[in-house]
């Protein structure tokens, strides 16, 4: 009797065959197939985005992303548009630039339209471009992993104070959200980013001759406020104060003859005046007119906090020197008719625009930003004073020989530069160009005498000086990268000499 060979060995054959096939499939999946998929978590649901590896970077299927995040997608021959609650992104095949309103965002890899139907984008699209149009936060959790978070709330309380010539609206936030103020023909829109606004409107009604109405607008992505202009509305001034985060908007009626006469300055406090810090209580501010200290000098100790500035060694930090020198200048100014306000009095990082806003708020006689220099080599030394450069327009560029700071067009800016009119933030310094150069030349002269150098004033486009509405300079009072300069700057006596030189220059300029 023969053994039943077929069933047992057939089973063995089948198992071997299946095992080999499974092995082949597994091998294929793990080695042949392209990149590991990107994952997006929405709540507890994990969704995968088809991804392909290309030159070491991961390209993700745009349609998958659009579907997961519930966005809208449109395409034409070479362009794709992704629409979200806050706007649209335009992508072009084979180009790394993504357009959002008037802004271009550069991706690591060009957009790839595969087989004329699939769109692939590099992973940095999710970090750089997509958050601009989402109404939620998209946070990177790890490699190829993202999570969508709902927005947190930002409770915004509005306070109204009525003054004879203006209405003050104070927006007090519970979060430190970016604020945008946009003036339209009949209204002013105040919008907040990153958090969902929960409004608390005031019980006090604003003077309706200046502010016809104030309401919350939920149609803005995160919510915002609309200030309707009254028949007597003339212009506005706005500024921020930190901790707690407040944005103040003063809306003015047209000035009358009595109001154009100089107002008495009131008692001038002794010593440096700290930056404006509104009280955290909820009681309305006392009635007063905008401060018009006539003899205020704005001093800006450069850098601070995590921003060390130039630091060739761990014990040579520019931020410490700038504060020390500024304090000495303020001290010396006590014996003059002038008083100093400082943009910082502690080791803290104050934003660039905040520094300019403080100087503008006090209507300073001049603004001096104190820094120390750094250069690629040790040779550069001595003091250098910088003033804001306004470059040529495209028409005059070739004649001027200037290399930097050109503006697309200044046509029409001139008629905006009336102190009674609104001035675009970045053009505020333009009316003070010649005065700033005078101030700069005097300071350079005084500091050159201290250092025995012959450096000249330099014109450079500086983000910090552009918004300052006063004669403004940035002083690099020596190079920390130069051994001779840094040795001198380390001594209190030398810092004092620099401070006295600055005070002398201020007096020469203002007298």
């Amino acid at each position: 009797m023969t053994k039943p060979v077929f069933p047992r060995q057939a089973a063995a054959l089948l198992i071997c065959f299946l095992a080999a096939t499974l092995f082949a499939i597994a091998f294929w999946e793990t080695t042949v197939r392209a990149a590991e998929d990107l994952q997006i978590w929405v709540g507890q649901k994990q969704s995968k985005v088809d991804s392909r590896e290309n030159e070491g970077s991961v390209l993700c299927d745009l349609r998958d992303v659009v579907e997961i995040l519930n966005l809208r997608f449109e395409e034409s021959d070479t362009q794709a548009t992704v629409s979200g609650p806050r706007g649209r992104l335009q992508l072009t095949d084979n180009r790394p630039l993504v357009r959002f309103r008037d802004e271009y965002i550069l991706l690591d890899r060009p957009v790839w339209r595969r087989k004329e139907k699939e769109w692939y984008i590099s992973e940095d699209f999710l970090q750089k471009a997509l958050p601009l149009i989402l109404s939620q936060r998209l946070e990177r959790q790890g490699e190829l992993s993202y999570r969508v978070f709902p927005l947190e709330q930002n409770r915004v309380r509005v306070e109204v104070s009525n003054f004879p010539d203006h209405v003050r609206l104070t927006f007090v936030q519970s979060q430190n959200a970016p604020v945008r103020i946009q003036e339209l023909q009949d209204s002013i829109r105040v919008t907040f980013d990153d958090y969902l606004v929960v409004p608390a409107l005031p019980s006090t009604r604003p003077d309706e001759r200046i502010v016809k109405g104030l309401r919350f607008d939920s149609s803005e992505i995160y919510g915002g406020f609309v200030i309707e202009k009254g028949r007597n509305y003339y212009n506005l001034r706005e500024y921020a104060s930190d901790s707690p985060d407040r944005r103040v908007i003063d809306l003015y009626a047209p000035p009358t003859t009595a109001q154009t006469a100089p107002q008495p300055a009131g008692p001038i406090p002794s010593g440096p005046i700290p930056p404006p810090g509104l009280s955290s209580s909820s009681t309305p501010l006392p009635v007063f007119k905008p401060r018009e200290f006539r003899n205020v000098i704005a001093l800006d100790p450069g850098h601070g906090g995590d921003d060390y500035g130039v630091h060739p060694r761990h014990d040579l930090l520019e931020k410490n020197y700038t504060l020390s020198i500024a304090e000495r200048v303020a001290e010396h100014l006590r014996s003059t008719p002038y008083r100093a306000i400082m943009t910082r009095t502690l080791d803290s990082d104050v934003g660039v625009h905040q520094r300019s806003a403080i100087a503008n708020y006090y209507q300073s006689r001049c603004y001096i930003s104190i820094h120390l220099g750094g250069a690629p080599t040790e040779d550069a030394r001595g003091p250098v004073v910088y003033v804001q450069a306004y470059g040529p327009t495209e028409d005059t560029a070739q004649d001027s020989g200037q290399v930097y700071g050109n503006e697309p067009s200044t046509a029409g800016v001139g008629r905006m530069l009336n102190p009674r009119n609104l001035v675009p933030w970045e053009y505020a310094q333009k009316t003070f160009t010649s005065q700033s150069k005078q101030l700069g030349a005097i300071i350079q002269d005084e500091l050159n005498a201290v250092y025995r150098t012959e450096n000249q004033v330099v014109e450079v486009p500086l983000g910090q000086l552009a918004p300052v509405s006063a004669p403004a300079v940035l002083v690099e009072a020596g190079f920390l990268t130069n051994p001779e300069d840094s040795a001198q700057l380390a001594t209190k006596e030398f810092q004092d000499r620099i401070a006295m030189a600055l005070v002398k220059a201020i007096q020469r300029f203002l007298n």
Binding site: V5, A20, Y104, H371, G373, Y404, V460, L474
Partner: protein, 188 residues
């Protein structure tokens, strides 16, 4: 030794399966490599031309920081000749020029990197450098101006089509290059 035909058949089947699998694997790998190559050439023609390395080299004039200078108008930059690969492609020329400038020590740090460069029709070169390029400068306005002007001048001097240079940091528009000099407008 007894012959076991079933075992031989089984082994043959396994070998054939593995063989087919390996053939498919190599075919797919080859196809993907070809696809990658064609994608790379269509997406990045510059890299493929550079990778060939067979182009002759041509001299270019770079404008680099002149030691000890602080005033951009007073001999701030000094011309220096370097070699780049010859190519008709303007973006490739620009990329090589900027990469050469970024090799300048000690002006730029070790991690200074050109991420992307893009030429617009109006003569603007959009130069996107890594964040380390800006953060590893020595600090101060002199260092920033040296970085900005050496790139701008070097591009303008060698590529007539480039009339102005706009800078991006890490792919985004920034207010300043490294905390001082405004780069909101292009440099020309």
């Amino acid at each position: 030794m007894r012959k076991h035909p079933s075992l031989i058949i089984a082994l043959t089947l396994v070998i054939v399966t593995v063989g087919i699998g390996y053939y498919l694997y190599t075919t797919e790998k080859r196809r993907q490599a070809e696809l990658r190559e064609s994608e790379r050439q269509s997406l990045d023609p510059e890299a493929s031309a550079l990778a060939e390395g067979s182009n002759p080299s041509v001299p270019v004039k770079l404008y680099l920081y002149n030691r000890g200078r602080v005033d951009p108008k007073d001999g701030f930059l000094i011309a220096e000749e370097r070699q780049i690969y010859e190519t008709e492609n303007k973006v490739l020329q620009a990329r090589q020029i900027v990469n050469e400038v970024l090799k300048t020590r000690p002006l730029f740090g070790e991690e200074a990197e050109l991420r992307q460069i893009y030429l617009l029709e109006d003569g603007t070169a959009v130069v996107d450098v890594s964040e380390q390029t800006a953060s590893q400068l020595a600090g101060g306005i002199t260092s920033e101006m040296a970085a900005i002007l050496s790139i701008t001048r070097s591009l303008q001097a060698n590529i007539p089509e480039i009339s102005k240079v706009r800078f991006l940091i890490g792919g985004r528009q920034a207010e300043t290059f490294a905390g001082h000099v405004s780069i909101m407008q292009p440099f020309m």
